[in-house]
Protein backbone atom coordinates (compact mmCIF):
# COMPACT_ATOMS: atom_id res chain seq x y z
CA UNK A 1 0.00 0.00 0.00
CA UNK A 2 2.70 2.45 1.04
CA UNK A 3 4.70 1.35 -1.96
CA UNK A 4 1.93 2.11 -4.42
CA UNK A 5 1.36 5.42 -2.66
CA UNK A 6 5.00 6.32 -3.19
CA UNK A 7 4.70 5.29 -6.81
CA UNK A 8 1.70 7.52 -7.44
CA UNK A 9 3.33 10.57 -5.86
CA UNK A 10 6.42 9.83 -7.90
CA UNK A 11 4.33 9.58 -11.03
CA UNK A 12 2.60 12.84 -10.14
CA UNK A 13 5.92 14.57 -9.65
CA UNK A 14 7.16 13.23 -12.97
CA UNK A 15 4.07 14.53 -14.72
CA UNK A 16 4.47 17.94 -13.11
CA UNK A 17 8.05 17.98 -14.32
CA UNK A 18 6.93 17.15 -17.83
CA UNK A 19 4.35 19.92 -17.84
CA UNK A 20 6.87 22.38 -16.43
CA UNK A 21 9.33 21.56 -19.21
CA UNK A 22 6.66 21.79 -21.88
CA UNK A 23 5.66 25.16 -20.48
CA UNK A 24 9.26 26.41 -20.55
CA UNK A 25 9.60 25.25 -24.14
CA UNK A 26 6.42 27.12 -25.02
CA UNK A 27 7.88 30.27 -23.46
CA UNK A 28 11.09 29.87 -25.47
CA UNK A 29 9.14 29.63 -28.71
CA UNK A 30 6.75 32.44 -27.88
CA UNK A 31 9.28 34.91 -26.47
CA UNK A 32 10.46 36.33 -29.82
CA UNK A 33 6.87 36.85 -30.93
CA UNK A 34 6.12 38.65 -27.67
CA UNK A 35 9.20 40.83 -28.05
CA UNK A 36 8.33 41.68 -31.65
CA UNK A 37 4.76 42.61 -30.80
CA UNK A 38 5.52 44.72 -27.72
CA UNK A 39 8.46 46.46 -29.42
CA UNK A 40 6.29 47.36 -32.39
CA UNK A 41 3.83 49.17 -30.10
CA UNK A 42 6.50 51.15 -28.24
CA UNK A 43 7.92 54.57 -28.96
CA UNK A 44 11.70 54.88 -29.39
CA UNK A 45 12.02 56.55 -25.95
CA UNK A 46 10.01 53.73 -24.49
CA UNK A 47 12.37 51.22 -26.09
CA UNK A 48 15.40 52.95 -24.60
CA UNK A 49 13.96 53.26 -21.09
CA UNK A 50 12.38 49.80 -20.89
CA UNK A 51 13.71 46.38 -21.79
CA UNK A 52 12.79 43.48 -24.06
CA UNK A 53 10.12 42.11 -21.76
CA UNK A 54 8.59 45.34 -20.49
CA UNK A 55 5.18 46.29 -21.80
CA UNK A 56 4.71 49.52 -23.79
CA UNK A 57 4.26 52.60 -21.55
CA UNK A 58 1.74 53.95 -24.00
CA UNK A 59 0.27 51.94 -26.78
CA UNK A 60 1.27 53.46 -30.12
CA UNK A 61 0.51 52.47 -33.69
CA UNK A 62 2.97 54.98 -35.17
CA UNK A 63 5.60 52.35 -35.92
CA UNK A 64 3.05 50.28 -37.82
CA UNK A 65 1.96 53.29 -39.84
CA UNK A 66 5.58 54.15 -40.66
CA UNK A 67 6.39 50.54 -41.53
CA UNK A 68 3.43 50.31 -43.83
CA UNK A 69 3.76 53.50 -45.84
CA UNK A 70 6.81 55.63 -45.16
CA UNK A 71 9.73 53.55 -43.92
CA UNK A 72 12.88 53.73 -46.05
CA UNK A 73 14.18 50.58 -47.68
CA UNK A 74 17.39 51.89 -49.17
CA UNK A 75 16.64 54.90 -51.37
CA UNK A 76 12.89 54.45 -51.53
CA UNK A 77 10.71 55.58 -48.66
CA UNK A 78 7.29 54.13 -49.37
CA UNK A 79 7.13 51.59 -46.56
CA UNK A 80 6.21 47.95 -46.98
CA UNK A 81 2.89 48.32 -48.72
CA UNK A 82 4.21 48.20 -52.28
CA UNK A 83 6.40 45.19 -51.56
CA UNK A 84 3.56 43.43 -49.80
CA UNK A 85 1.59 43.87 -53.02
CA UNK A 86 4.55 42.60 -55.08
CA UNK A 87 4.71 39.45 -53.00
CA UNK A 88 0.99 38.86 -53.45
CA UNK A 89 1.17 39.46 -57.20
CA UNK A 90 4.04 37.01 -57.49
CA UNK A 91 2.70 34.43 -55.06
CA UNK A 92 -0.85 33.94 -56.33
CA UNK A 93 -0.10 33.00 -59.96
CA UNK A 94 3.02 31.04 -59.01
CA UNK A 95 1.14 28.96 -56.44
CA UNK A 96 -1.83 28.28 -58.73
CA UNK A 97 0.22 27.38 -61.80
CA UNK A 98 2.65 25.14 -59.93
CA UNK A 99 -0.19 23.37 -58.13
CA UNK A 100 -2.17 22.74 -61.32
CA UNK A 101 0.89 21.47 -63.19
CA UNK A 102 1.93 19.40 -60.19
CA UNK A 103 -1.46 17.69 -59.99
CA UNK A 104 -1.42 16.86 -63.71
CA UNK A 105 2.14 15.55 -63.43
CA UNK A 106 1.25 13.46 -60.42
CA UNK A 107 -1.72 12.06 -62.36
CA UNK A 108 0.46 11.02 -65.28
CA UNK A 109 3.27 9.66 -63.11
CA UNK A 110 0.91 7.48 -61.11
CA UNK A 111 -1.86 6.45 -63.51
CA UNK A 112 -0.47 6.91 -67.01
CA UNK A 113 3.02 5.63 -66.55
CA UNK A 114 5.10 5.22 -69.65
CA UNK A 115 8.58 3.97 -70.37
CA UNK A 116 10.91 6.31 -68.58
CA UNK A 117 8.30 7.93 -66.35
CA UNK A 118 9.79 6.42 -63.21
CA UNK A 119 13.24 7.59 -64.21
CA UNK A 120 11.80 11.05 -64.77
CA UNK A 121 10.21 11.01 -61.33
CA UNK A 122 13.56 10.07 -59.84
CA UNK A 123 15.19 12.96 -61.69
CA UNK A 124 12.57 15.30 -60.24
CA UNK A 125 13.10 13.91 -56.74
CA UNK A 126 16.81 14.56 -56.84
CA UNK A 127 15.91 18.13 -57.71
CA UNK A 128 14.38 18.59 -54.25
CA UNK A 129 17.88 18.31 -52.79
CA UNK A 130 19.54 20.87 -55.05
CA UNK A 131 20.97 23.94 -53.42
CA UNK A 132 19.49 26.59 -55.70
CA UNK A 133 22.80 28.44 -55.80
CA UNK A 134 23.88 26.02 -58.48
CA UNK A 135 21.17 27.15 -60.93
CA UNK A 136 20.80 30.88 -60.31
CA UNK A 137 23.70 32.10 -62.44
CA UNK A 138 22.45 30.44 -65.64
CA UNK A 139 18.86 31.40 -64.75
CA UNK A 140 19.89 35.05 -64.57
CA UNK A 141 21.50 34.71 -68.01
CA UNK A 142 18.41 33.04 -69.47
CA UNK A 143 16.02 35.62 -68.02
CA UNK A 144 18.22 38.30 -69.54
CA UNK A 145 18.20 36.58 -72.94
CA UNK A 146 14.43 36.19 -72.81
CA UNK A 147 14.19 39.92 -72.23
CA UNK A 148 11.91 39.37 -69.26
CA UNK A 149 12.40 42.64 -67.38
CA UNK A 150 9.37 42.58 -65.12
CA UNK A 151 10.33 41.44 -61.63
CA UNK A 152 7.00 39.81 -60.88
CA UNK A 153 7.01 37.90 -64.15
CA UNK A 154 10.55 36.69 -63.54
CA UNK A 155 9.76 35.51 -60.04
CA UNK A 156 6.56 33.73 -61.08
CA UNK A 157 8.47 31.82 -63.74
CA UNK A 158 11.31 30.88 -61.41
CA UNK A 159 9.03 29.85 -58.55
CA UNK A 160 6.92 27.70 -60.85
CA UNK A 161 9.97 25.90 -62.27
CA UNK A 162 11.59 25.24 -58.91
CA UNK A 163 8.33 24.45 -57.14
CA UNK A 164 7.27 21.73 -59.57
CA UNK A 165 9.29 18.96 -57.99
CA UNK A 166 7.47 19.48 -54.70
CA UNK A 167 3.96 19.86 -56.10
CA UNK A 168 4.42 16.84 -58.37
CA UNK A 169 5.67 14.83 -55.41
CA UNK A 170 2.63 15.67 -53.27
CA UNK A 171 0.11 14.63 -55.93
CA UNK A 172 2.00 11.63 -57.22
CA UNK A 173 2.32 10.23 -53.71
CA UNK A 174 -1.39 10.68 -53.14
CA UNK A 175 -2.51 9.31 -56.50
CA UNK A 176 -0.53 6.08 -56.15
CA UNK A 177 -2.80 5.30 -53.18
CA UNK A 178 -5.98 5.68 -55.25
CA UNK A 179 -7.24 2.17 -56.13
CA UNK A 180 -6.42 1.27 -59.72
CA UNK A 181 -9.90 -0.28 -60.08
CA UNK A 182 -11.31 3.22 -60.02
CA UNK A 183 -9.13 4.15 -62.96
CA UNK A 184 -10.00 1.01 -64.89
CA UNK A 185 -13.72 1.42 -64.30
CA UNK A 186 -13.58 4.99 -65.44
CA UNK A 187 -11.67 4.05 -68.58
CA UNK A 188 -14.20 1.36 -69.45
CA UNK A 189 -16.94 3.94 -69.02
CA UNK A 190 -15.08 5.94 -71.62
CA UNK A 191 -14.02 8.78 -69.38
CA UNK A 192 -11.14 10.45 -71.15
CA UNK A 193 -7.86 11.62 -69.75
CA UNK A 194 -9.01 15.06 -68.70
CA UNK A 195 -12.61 14.12 -67.89
CA UNK A 196 -11.43 11.54 -65.38
CA UNK A 197 -8.92 13.95 -63.93
CA UNK A 198 -11.25 16.90 -63.46
CA UNK A 199 -14.49 15.07 -62.67
CA UNK A 200 -13.31 12.21 -60.49
CA UNK A 201 -9.75 12.68 -59.34
CA UNK A 202 -9.58 16.37 -58.44
CA UNK A 203 -12.69 16.32 -56.22
CA UNK A 204 -11.19 13.56 -54.08
CA UNK A 205 -7.79 15.29 -53.95
CA UNK A 206 -8.92 18.32 -51.99
CA UNK A 207 -6.77 17.54 -48.93
CA UNK A 208 -3.71 17.12 -51.15
CA UNK A 209 -4.58 20.34 -52.97
CA UNK A 210 -4.72 22.11 -49.62
CA UNK A 211 -1.35 20.69 -48.58
CA UNK A 212 0.15 21.76 -51.87
CA UNK A 213 -1.36 25.27 -51.82
CA UNK A 214 -0.19 25.89 -48.26
CA UNK A 215 3.28 24.52 -48.89
CA UNK A 216 3.77 26.59 -52.01
CA UNK A 217 2.29 29.70 -50.40
CA UNK A 218 4.73 29.61 -47.50
CA UNK A 219 7.70 28.64 -49.68
CA UNK A 220 7.11 31.40 -52.20
CA UNK A 221 6.08 34.12 -49.77
CA UNK A 222 9.08 33.41 -47.55
CA UNK A 223 11.64 33.08 -50.33
CA UNK A 224 14.57 35.46 -50.21
CA UNK A 225 17.23 34.03 -52.55
CA UNK A 226 15.23 34.23 -55.77
CA UNK A 227 13.81 37.58 -54.72
CA UNK A 228 17.16 39.19 -54.12
CA UNK A 229 18.73 37.71 -57.26
CA UNK A 230 15.97 38.05 -59.86
CA UNK A 231 14.07 41.20 -58.90
CA UNK A 232 15.08 44.79 -58.64
CA UNK A 233 14.02 48.21 -57.38
CA UNK A 234 10.35 48.59 -56.61
CA UNK A 235 9.57 45.15 -57.98
CA UNK A 236 11.15 43.31 -55.05
CA UNK A 237 9.18 40.96 -52.78
CA UNK A 238 8.59 41.80 -49.14
CA UNK A 239 11.36 39.61 -47.71
CA UNK A 240 13.96 41.54 -49.69
CA UNK A 241 12.39 44.86 -48.71
CA UNK A 242 12.37 43.87 -45.04
CA UNK A 243 16.03 42.93 -45.19
CA UNK A 244 16.84 46.26 -46.85
CA UNK A 245 14.86 48.12 -44.21
CA UNK A 246 16.58 46.40 -41.32
CA UNK A 247 20.09 46.42 -42.72
CA UNK A 248 20.34 49.89 -44.23
CA UNK A 249 21.90 52.14 -41.65
CA UNK A 250 20.68 55.65 -42.35
CA UNK A 251 19.86 57.87 -39.41
CA UNK A 252 18.43 56.66 -36.13
CA UNK A 253 17.61 52.96 -36.04
CA UNK A 254 13.89 52.56 -35.52
CA UNK A 255 13.61 49.15 -33.90
CA UNK A 256 9.87 49.52 -33.44
CA UNK A 257 9.44 50.08 -37.19
CA UNK A 258 11.67 47.09 -37.94
CA UNK A 259 9.51 44.88 -35.75
CA UNK A 260 6.24 46.15 -37.20
CA UNK A 261 7.59 45.54 -40.71
CA UNK A 262 8.74 42.05 -39.74
CA UNK A 263 5.29 41.20 -38.41
CA UNK A 264 3.68 42.58 -41.57
CA UNK A 265 5.97 40.31 -43.61
CA UNK A 266 5.11 37.35 -41.38
CA UNK A 267 1.36 37.85 -41.16
CA UNK A 268 0.18 36.10 -44.34
CA UNK A 269 2.08 32.88 -43.66
CA UNK A 270 1.19 32.97 -39.96
CA UNK A 271 -2.45 33.32 -40.95
CA UNK A 272 -2.14 30.39 -43.34
CA UNK A 273 -0.54 28.38 -40.55
CA UNK A 274 -3.26 29.19 -38.05
CA UNK A 275 -6.09 28.49 -40.48
CA UNK A 276 -4.60 25.48 -42.22
CA UNK A 277 -2.24 24.14 -39.57
CA UNK A 278 -3.21 20.54 -40.13
CA UNK A 279 -2.38 20.73 -43.84
CA UNK A 280 0.75 22.73 -43.13
CA UNK A 281 2.15 20.00 -40.92
CA UNK A 282 1.16 17.34 -43.39
CA UNK A 283 2.92 19.25 -46.13
CA UNK A 284 6.08 19.59 -44.08
CA UNK A 285 6.17 15.93 -43.19
CA UNK A 286 5.22 14.79 -46.71
CA UNK A 287 7.84 17.03 -48.25
CA UNK A 288 10.26 15.62 -45.73
CA UNK A 289 9.61 11.93 -45.74
CA UNK A 290 9.08 11.91 -49.52
CA UNK A 291 8.36 9.00 -51.91
Amino acid sequence: MADSYRQTTQAKLARMGIYAMLFLLALWFLAPLYVMLTTSFKSLDDIRSGNLLSLPQSFSLDAWKTAWDSACTGVECGGMKGYFGNSLKMMIPAVLISTLLGSLNGYVLSMWRFKGSDAFFMALLIGTFLPFQVVILPMAQVLGMLGLENSTGRLVLVHVIYGLQFTTLFFRNYYVTVPSDLVKAARIDGAGFFLFFFKILLPISIPTIMVCLIWQTTQIWNDFLFGVVFSSGDGQPITVALNNLVNTSTGVKQYNVDMAAAIIAALPTLLVYIVGGKFFVRGLTAGAVKG
Binding site: I18, L22, L25, F29, L30, P32, L33, M36, T39, R48, L52, L53, L101, W112, F114, F120, A123, I126, F129, L130, P131, Q133, V134, V135, I136, L137, P138, M139, Q141, I161, Y162, L164, Q165, W221, N222, D223, F224, L225, V228, V229, T239, L242, N243, V246, N247, D258, M259, A262, A265, A266, T269, L270, Y273, G277, F280, L284, T285, A288, V289, K290
Partner: protein
Protein backbone atom coordinates in the same frame (compact mmCIF):
# COMPACT_ATOMS: atom_id res chain seq x y z
CA UNK B 1 -15.01 6.24 -87.95
CA UNK B 2 -13.86 3.30 -85.89
CA UNK B 3 -10.37 3.68 -87.20
CA UNK B 4 -10.47 7.33 -86.28
CA UNK B 5 -11.71 6.80 -82.76
CA UNK B 6 -9.19 4.00 -82.33
CA UNK B 7 -6.29 6.21 -83.23
CA UNK B 8 -7.75 8.95 -81.10
CA UNK B 9 -7.88 6.74 -78.02
CA UNK B 10 -4.35 5.62 -78.82
CA UNK B 11 -3.35 9.23 -78.89
CA UNK B 12 -5.00 9.74 -75.52
CA UNK B 13 -3.37 6.68 -74.01
CA UNK B 14 0.11 7.10 -75.34
CA UNK B 15 0.75 10.65 -76.41
CA UNK B 16 -1.42 12.85 -74.23
CA UNK B 17 0.25 11.91 -70.90
CA UNK B 18 3.60 12.74 -72.45
CA UNK B 19 2.30 16.04 -73.77
CA UNK B 20 1.03 16.91 -70.31
CA UNK B 21 4.32 16.09 -68.67
CA UNK B 22 6.44 17.76 -71.33
CA UNK B 23 6.58 21.28 -69.81
CA UNK B 24 7.77 19.89 -66.48
CA UNK B 25 10.21 17.55 -68.16
CA UNK B 26 11.62 20.48 -70.08
CA UNK B 27 11.79 22.67 -66.98
CA UNK B 28 13.46 19.88 -65.04
CA UNK B 29 15.96 18.92 -67.72
CA UNK B 30 16.91 22.49 -68.55
CA UNK B 31 16.29 24.19 -65.21
CA UNK B 32 18.01 21.58 -63.04
CA UNK B 33 20.39 19.48 -65.04
CA UNK B 34 21.08 21.85 -67.91
CA UNK B 35 21.78 24.69 -65.54
CA UNK B 36 24.05 22.58 -63.37
CA UNK B 37 26.05 21.79 -66.48
CA UNK B 38 26.04 25.47 -67.40
CA UNK B 39 27.28 26.48 -63.96
CA UNK B 40 29.94 23.78 -64.16
CA UNK B 41 31.07 25.17 -67.52
CA UNK B 42 31.17 28.73 -66.16
CA UNK B 43 33.33 27.51 -63.29
CA UNK B 44 35.97 26.45 -65.83
CA UNK B 45 36.08 29.85 -67.55
CA UNK B 46 37.60 33.22 -66.88
CA UNK B 47 34.23 34.96 -66.51
CA UNK B 48 34.14 38.14 -64.49
CA UNK B 49 31.43 40.76 -65.06
CA UNK B 50 30.08 38.92 -68.09
CA UNK B 51 30.13 35.22 -68.92
CA UNK B 52 32.83 34.01 -71.29
CA UNK B 53 32.78 30.50 -72.53
CA UNK B 54 36.41 29.84 -73.42
CA UNK B 55 37.88 26.97 -71.45
CA UNK B 56 40.31 28.19 -68.81
CA UNK B 57 40.87 25.05 -66.82
CA UNK B 58 40.87 25.07 -63.08
CA UNK B 59 41.83 28.73 -62.51
CA UNK B 60 38.65 29.51 -60.57
CA UNK B 61 39.05 26.48 -58.34
CA UNK B 62 42.68 27.34 -57.72
CA UNK B 63 41.61 30.84 -56.76
CA UNK B 64 38.76 29.50 -54.61
CA UNK B 65 40.96 27.05 -52.73
CA UNK B 66 43.53 29.75 -52.14
CA UNK B 67 40.88 32.11 -50.81
CA UNK B 68 40.88 32.52 -47.00
CA UNK B 69 37.37 33.88 -47.00
CA UNK B 70 36.10 30.72 -48.69
CA UNK B 71 37.70 28.50 -46.07
CA UNK B 72 36.32 30.71 -43.33
CA UNK B 73 32.88 30.28 -44.89
CA UNK B 74 33.29 26.49 -45.10
CA UNK B 75 34.53 26.35 -41.52
CA UNK B 76 31.55 28.44 -40.40
CA UNK B 77 29.24 26.09 -42.27
CA UNK B 78 30.81 23.18 -40.45
CA UNK B 79 30.42 24.81 -37.04
CA UNK B 80 26.93 26.11 -37.71
CA UNK B 81 25.78 22.95 -39.48
CA UNK B 82 26.91 20.46 -36.86
CA UNK B 83 25.63 22.45 -33.89
CA UNK B 84 22.38 23.28 -35.65
CA UNK B 85 21.75 19.65 -36.58
CA UNK B 86 22.75 18.22 -33.21
CA UNK B 87 20.74 20.66 -31.10
CA UNK B 88 17.68 20.46 -33.34
CA UNK B 89 17.78 16.67 -33.24
CA UNK B 90 18.20 16.51 -29.47
CA UNK B 91 15.71 19.22 -28.59
CA UNK B 92 13.20 18.06 -31.20
CA UNK B 93 13.31 14.46 -30.01
CA UNK B 94 13.13 15.54 -26.38
CA UNK B 95 10.09 17.72 -27.05
CA UNK B 96 8.39 14.98 -29.04
CA UNK B 97 8.91 12.44 -26.26
CA UNK B 98 7.51 14.89 -23.70
CA UNK B 99 4.52 15.61 -25.89
CA UNK B 100 3.89 11.91 -26.38
CA UNK B 101 3.02 11.40 -22.68
CA UNK B 102 -0.75 11.89 -23.17
CA UNK B 103 -0.49 15.61 -22.56
CA UNK B 104 -3.50 17.80 -22.10
CA UNK B 105 -3.55 20.73 -24.54
CA UNK B 106 -1.18 18.87 -26.84
CA UNK B 107 -2.70 20.53 -29.88
CA UNK B 108 -2.13 24.04 -28.52
CA UNK B 109 1.44 23.25 -27.51
CA UNK B 110 2.20 21.75 -30.89
CA UNK B 111 0.87 24.86 -32.58
CA UNK B 112 3.15 27.01 -30.43
CA UNK B 113 6.23 24.88 -31.06
CA UNK B 114 5.76 24.78 -34.78
CA UNK B 115 4.72 28.31 -35.73
CA UNK B 116 8.30 29.56 -36.33
CA UNK B 117 8.41 27.19 -39.29
CA UNK B 118 5.74 29.33 -40.99
CA UNK B 119 7.99 32.39 -40.80
CA UNK B 120 10.55 33.52 -43.31
CA UNK B 121 14.16 33.19 -42.17
CA UNK B 122 14.35 36.93 -42.85
CA UNK B 123 11.68 37.55 -40.22
CA UNK B 124 13.39 35.19 -37.78
CA UNK B 125 16.72 36.89 -38.40
CA UNK B 126 15.20 40.34 -37.91
CA UNK B 127 13.58 39.34 -34.64
CA UNK B 128 16.73 37.74 -33.21
CA UNK B 129 18.91 40.59 -34.41
CA UNK B 130 16.82 42.82 -32.18
CA UNK B 131 16.71 40.41 -29.25
CA UNK B 132 20.49 39.99 -29.37
CA UNK B 133 21.12 43.71 -29.81
CA UNK B 134 24.16 44.40 -27.63
CA UNK B 135 22.88 47.67 -26.19
CA UNK B 136 19.14 47.21 -25.90
CA UNK B 137 18.49 43.49 -26.12
CA UNK B 138 19.13 40.65 -23.71
CA UNK B 139 22.08 42.52 -22.23
CA UNK B 140 19.81 45.36 -21.09
CA UNK B 141 17.34 42.85 -19.73
CA UNK B 142 20.08 41.27 -17.63
CA UNK B 143 21.12 44.70 -16.36
CA UNK B 144 17.54 45.53 -15.39
CA UNK B 145 17.35 42.23 -13.55
CA UNK B 146 20.32 43.24 -11.44
CA UNK B 147 23.20 41.59 -13.27
CA UNK B 148 24.70 44.99 -13.93
CA UNK B 149 28.08 43.72 -15.06
CA UNK B 150 26.64 41.27 -17.58
CA UNK B 151 27.68 41.54 -21.20
CA UNK B 152 26.00 39.69 -24.01
CA UNK B 153 27.42 40.91 -27.27
CA UNK B 154 27.77 37.66 -29.20
CA UNK B 155 26.17 39.12 -32.31
CA UNK B 156 28.99 41.64 -32.75
CA UNK B 157 31.73 39.42 -31.33
CA UNK B 158 33.71 37.67 -34.11
CA UNK B 159 34.31 34.62 -31.92
CA UNK B 160 30.72 34.09 -30.89
CA UNK B 161 28.61 35.53 -33.73
CA UNK B 162 28.25 32.15 -35.43
CA UNK B 163 26.52 30.83 -32.31
CA UNK B 164 23.81 33.47 -32.63
CA UNK B 165 23.05 32.01 -36.05
CA UNK B 166 22.77 28.60 -34.38
CA UNK B 167 20.38 29.98 -31.75
CA UNK B 168 18.07 31.56 -34.31
CA UNK B 169 18.23 28.54 -36.61
CA UNK B 170 17.42 26.15 -33.78
CA UNK B 171 14.55 28.34 -32.66
CA UNK B 172 13.06 28.21 -36.15
CA UNK B 173 13.52 24.53 -36.95
CA UNK B 174 13.10 22.59 -33.69
CA UNK B 175 9.31 22.49 -33.91
CA UNK B 176 9.53 20.89 -37.30
CA UNK B 177 11.89 18.20 -36.03
CA UNK B 178 9.51 17.66 -33.12
CA UNK B 179 6.60 17.18 -35.54
CA UNK B 180 8.51 14.56 -37.53
CA UNK B 181 9.56 12.64 -34.43
CA UNK B 182 6.07 12.84 -32.97
CA UNK B 183 4.65 11.36 -36.17
CA UNK B 184 7.26 8.61 -35.88
CA UNK B 185 6.42 7.93 -32.24
CA UNK B 186 2.73 7.67 -33.07
CA UNK B 187 3.51 5.15 -35.75
CA UNK B 188 5.14 2.68 -33.36
CA UNK B 189 3.23 -0.49 -32.67
CA UNK B 190 1.71 -0.22 -29.19
CA UNK B 191 1.82 -3.95 -28.51
CA UNK B 192 5.64 -4.01 -28.38
CA UNK B 193 5.61 -1.30 -25.74
CA UNK B 194 2.90 -3.04 -23.74
CA UNK B 195 4.83 -6.30 -23.83
CA UNK B 196 7.92 -4.53 -22.52
CA UNK B 197 5.89 -2.93 -19.75
CA UNK B 198 4.55 -6.31 -18.71
CA UNK B 199 8.14 -7.57 -18.61
CA UNK B 200 8.76 -4.83 -16.05
CA UNK B 201 10.83 -2.47 -18.20
CA UNK B 202 10.78 1.10 -16.90
CA UNK B 203 9.76 3.99 -19.12
CA UNK B 204 13.29 5.34 -19.67
CA UNK B 205 14.46 1.85 -20.63
CA UNK B 206 11.54 1.42 -23.02
CA UNK B 207 12.44 4.72 -24.67
CA UNK B 208 16.18 4.23 -24.95
CA UNK B 209 16.10 0.53 -25.84
CA UNK B 210 12.97 0.11 -27.92
CA UNK B 211 11.31 3.29 -29.07
CA UNK B 212 14.22 5.51 -30.04
CA UNK B 213 16.10 2.78 -31.95
CA UNK B 214 12.97 2.07 -33.94
CA UNK B 215 12.87 5.71 -35.03
CA UNK B 216 16.01 5.20 -37.12
CA UNK B 217 14.37 6.11 -40.45
CA UNK B 218 13.01 9.31 -38.91
CA UNK B 219 16.48 10.21 -37.64
CA UNK B 220 17.79 9.67 -41.12
CA UNK B 221 15.30 11.90 -42.87
CA UNK B 222 15.47 14.58 -40.19
CA UNK B 223 19.23 14.61 -40.52
CA UNK B 224 18.93 14.94 -44.28
CA UNK B 225 16.54 17.85 -44.10
CA UNK B 226 18.52 19.71 -41.45
CA UNK B 227 21.76 19.19 -43.36
CA UNK B 228 20.07 20.48 -46.47
CA UNK B 229 18.76 23.56 -44.63
CA UNK B 230 22.26 24.17 -43.25
CA UNK B 231 24.05 23.91 -46.60
CA UNK B 232 21.73 26.34 -48.35
CA UNK B 233 21.37 28.67 -45.34
CA UNK B 234 21.48 32.17 -46.68
CA UNK B 235 18.54 34.36 -45.69
CA UNK B 236 18.91 33.79 -41.95
CA UNK B 237 22.50 34.99 -41.91
CA UNK B 238 21.81 37.83 -44.33
CA UNK B 239 19.14 39.19 -41.99
CA UNK B 240 20.84 38.40 -38.70
CA UNK B 241 24.48 39.39 -39.23
CA UNK B 242 24.96 39.97 -42.97
CA UNK B 243 27.90 37.56 -42.71
CA UNK B 244 29.69 39.76 -40.19
CA UNK B 245 31.28 41.00 -38.10
CA UNK B 246 33.98 40.84 -40.74
CA UNK B 247 33.50 37.40 -42.23
CA UNK B 248 32.79 35.77 -38.88
CA UNK B 249 29.43 34.36 -40.01
CA UNK B 250 30.09 34.18 -43.73
CA UNK B 251 28.70 31.05 -45.37
CA UNK B 252 29.33 29.47 -48.80
CA UNK B 253 25.90 30.66 -49.94
CA UNK B 254 26.79 34.27 -49.13
CA UNK B 255 30.21 33.91 -50.73
CA UNK B 256 28.51 32.56 -53.84
CA UNK B 257 25.91 35.32 -53.96
CA UNK B 258 28.37 38.13 -53.49
CA UNK B 259 30.93 36.91 -56.01
CA UNK B 260 28.37 35.78 -58.56
CA UNK B 261 26.02 38.73 -58.35
CA UNK B 262 27.43 41.81 -56.68
CA UNK B 263 31.20 41.63 -57.22
CA UNK B 264 31.30 40.63 -60.87
CA UNK B 265 33.24 37.41 -60.30
CA UNK B 266 30.95 35.04 -62.20
CA UNK B 267 33.53 32.28 -62.60
CA UNK B 268 34.47 32.24 -58.93
CA UNK B 269 30.80 32.36 -57.97
CA UNK B 270 30.12 29.38 -60.25
CA UNK B 271 33.02 27.43 -58.75
CA UNK B 272 31.73 28.07 -55.23
CA UNK B 273 28.21 27.02 -56.33
CA UNK B 274 29.64 23.75 -57.61
CA UNK B 275 31.37 23.19 -54.30
CA UNK B 276 28.03 23.76 -52.54
CA UNK B 277 26.45 21.18 -54.82
CA UNK B 278 29.17 18.68 -53.95
CA UNK B 279 28.71 19.41 -50.25
CA UNK B 280 24.96 18.80 -50.53
CA UNK B 281 25.57 15.65 -52.59
CA UNK B 282 28.08 14.34 -50.06
CA UNK B 283 25.33 14.52 -47.45
CA UNK B 284 22.47 13.29 -49.61
CA UNK B 285 24.09 10.49 -51.59
CA UNK B 286 24.61 8.02 -48.72
CA UNK B 287 20.99 8.58 -47.76
CA UNK B 288 19.58 8.10 -51.25
CA UNK B 289 21.78 5.05 -51.69
CA UNK B 290 20.58 3.42 -48.49
CA UNK B 291 16.97 4.19 -49.45
CA UNK B 292 17.46 2.60 -52.85
CA UNK B 293 19.08 -0.46 -51.33
CA UNK B 294 16.21 -0.81 -48.91
CA UNK B 295 13.68 -0.52 -51.76
CA UNK B 296 15.49 -3.23 -53.65
CA UNK B 297 15.49 -5.53 -50.66
CA UNK B 298 11.89 -4.69 -49.74
Amino acid sequence: MTVNSFSFSRFVDVTLPKVVIAPTALACLVGFYGFIGWTAWLSFTNSHMLPHYEWAGFVQYVELFGNDRWWQAMWNLGVFGSLFILICLALGLFTAVLLDQKIRAEGALRTIYLYPMALSFIVTGTAWKWILNPGLGIEKLLHDWGFTGATFDWIINPHYAIYTVVIAGVWQSTGFVMALFLAGLRGIDDSIIKAAQIDGASLPVIYTRIIIPSLRPVFLSVFMILAHIAVKSFDLVMALTGGGPGFATDLPSIFMYQHGFTRGQLGLGAASAMMMLFTAAAVVMPFLYSELMRDRRG
